[in-house]
Amino acid sequence: MSQALSGLSRGVREEQDRGIDERVRPPIEERLAGIHAELGRRNVARGHAPYWALGAAVVAAACVLLWWGARPAAPISVARGGQPVEPGAWVQSTATAETLSFSDGTQVQLQPQTALRVLSLSAVGASLALERGTLHATVVHRDDTRWLVAAGPFEVHVTGTEFDASYDPARQVLDVQMFEGSVRVTGSCLKEPALLSDQQRASFRCQSGSAAAPEATEAKAAPSLAAPAEHATAANASAKDAPAKDTLRPAGPESAGKASETSAAAPSTTAPATEDWRALARDGHFKAALAAAEARGFAALCASESAPALLELGNAARLAGNAVRASEAYLAVRGRFGGSGAATNAAFQLGRLSFDGAGNYAVAERWFRAYLTEAPGGALAQEALGRVMECQQRTGQRSAAEQTAAQYLARFPGGAHANLARSLTPE
């Protein structure tokens, strides 16, 4: 390009970039709603007018037939002492055992001092979260049965079986005792799933050292449970940085101190590869960017990169569809740069990952709350508060959602979630 224009071009570019950075954009929900409405309108307009009504009728009839044939079976129901238990409800036993009876014949008995949440019910099973204590499950087997018990960082996938599961949240230890059938145990710190059957018993713990393994297992699963250090690291970072249910604080000086140690120990030779993945990510080649980061050592990057780079790495992983790596990068920001704006941003991204990725609204709510606690007036506060409200609505926390809705309307009466907030606010 001619030198004669380079100064002018640069001046214009910088001026435009400033304007773009400062732009107030329509809320994302509004934009998406507009896009979908217009796409729908254009699809309809593309049809031939004389045949439009007939075509629509045929399509509608076909849809009804398809729906009738393929409609999902009704989800099973669950009752405690004859009273129905809704998805999202907490069940807590005190001094005596409690039994949950499912309509497919499955029984889950809560031993004393056990807390469990019924997360979801489907036609082929249920998802339960064991917060603490011991449950005894007798799951009725069918070909497509899908039962799942989540306990801290572990998941017990059940087909048809009888087993005990105990979880100690303080030590993050899961014990599984099989009586009949088989289960598959997975966890963020387990390299491979562990298969338990017959009368096997195993304990699982995410260790604080460099490896993760089941403790004192008697199961066949033992040989496959050694985890790579980076998985253990990620799990530890998660445990350390996850916002506690009751206290949502930015990471303190302790984590900042650790960050600097890690940073100092990190090899300085990572720069060229780092440039590669960043360049690829900036060009929109997210999978390639992630592969480049993996080639260099994802964990090393998490331990050495700057906060903005880690946010970019997390975004690249998220857009490449790898939620595991995305969460590791965001959690590294939380761990190493606690209290910074980047850490706050990472909390929002973690919430978004939980919300958009798998609809894990309970986790998402906690991250969005962490963001709001750390940056009550932050640029994403409106979106975060709106999403907290959505999370509460979707997890059946009606009164909490109402309160958040009132708070939202007071702060952002014209916000993207205002309509939802009004629908949740009692007249």
Binding site: L5, L8, V12, S238, N322, A323, L331, A362
Partner: protein, 204 residues
């Protein structure tokens, strides 16, 4: 089939992948996953805005044009390949901007020159002002063939390589080179005679 992923604790975020296998944004877009559409719009709005702004200059229609880009892109998501979401969207952005230019040009004869479009008279010793220069440059570009303008703005202002410009505009590299050369000569020639631009060109 997506597995029933549930967790209560953020340390289990590894389980948050949308599907058993790592699912790319592209794959998810093709099956109309809401998270993917949201991610596409959220993460690429600034990029689309930037390309449109480069081509059109200051415009009050940017939001509408950005919206049009995403409508077209999501309507033709089946054409999206695994690599290059950014350049795929960029091609839509360039097309939308070029159409806006042609439309503006088609109806220009109906309107008189708006007051803000008239070049400002500036004293010779005034400091070059980038905003005024930007306005003057785009007024100059208004007189240029839209295709030349697209090539010029992407290369000179956005700083793209000619090959990239060729990719986004669906023109051959030689055509891009020819158009850029012509546009550059036009701008330099006229800028030297424009009181708002002359200092910038000479300074460079």
């Amino acid at each position: 089939m997506a597995r029933p992923v549930i967790q209560l604790r953020p340390e289990t975020l590894r389980l948050l992948a949308p599907a058993d296998d790592a699912e790319s944004l592209v794959d998810a877009l093709k099956v109309r996953k809401a998270w993917a559409e949201r991610a596409l719009v959220e993460d690429h709005t600034a990029h689309v805005e930037r390309l449109i702004t480069r081509v059109l200059g200051p415009s009050s229609d940017v939001d509408d044009l950005v919206q049009e880009v995403f409508i077209r892109a999501l309507g033709r998501v089946d054409q999206l390949r695994d690599e290059g979401v950014k350049s795929w969207l960029g091609a839509f952005a360039v097309n939308v901007a070029r159409e806006a230019l042609r439309k503006k040009r088609r109806w220009r004869w109906l309107w008189s020159v708006a007051a803000e479009d008239a070049p400002e008279v500036r004293s010779a010793d005034a400091t070059p002002d980038v905003r005024a220069a930007m306005g003057a440059l785009y007024r100059l570009l208004d007189r240029m063939d839209p295709d030349d303008r697209v090539v010029f703005t992407l290369r000179a202002i956005e700083g793209m390589e000619l090959l990239e410009v060729a990719g986004l505009t669906d023109l051959s590299l030689s055509t891009v080179k020819r158009r850029f050369k012509r546009a550059q000569e036009f701008v330099i020639q006229h800028a030297r005679r424009d009181v708002l631009l002359a200092d910038w060109v000479d300074a460079s």
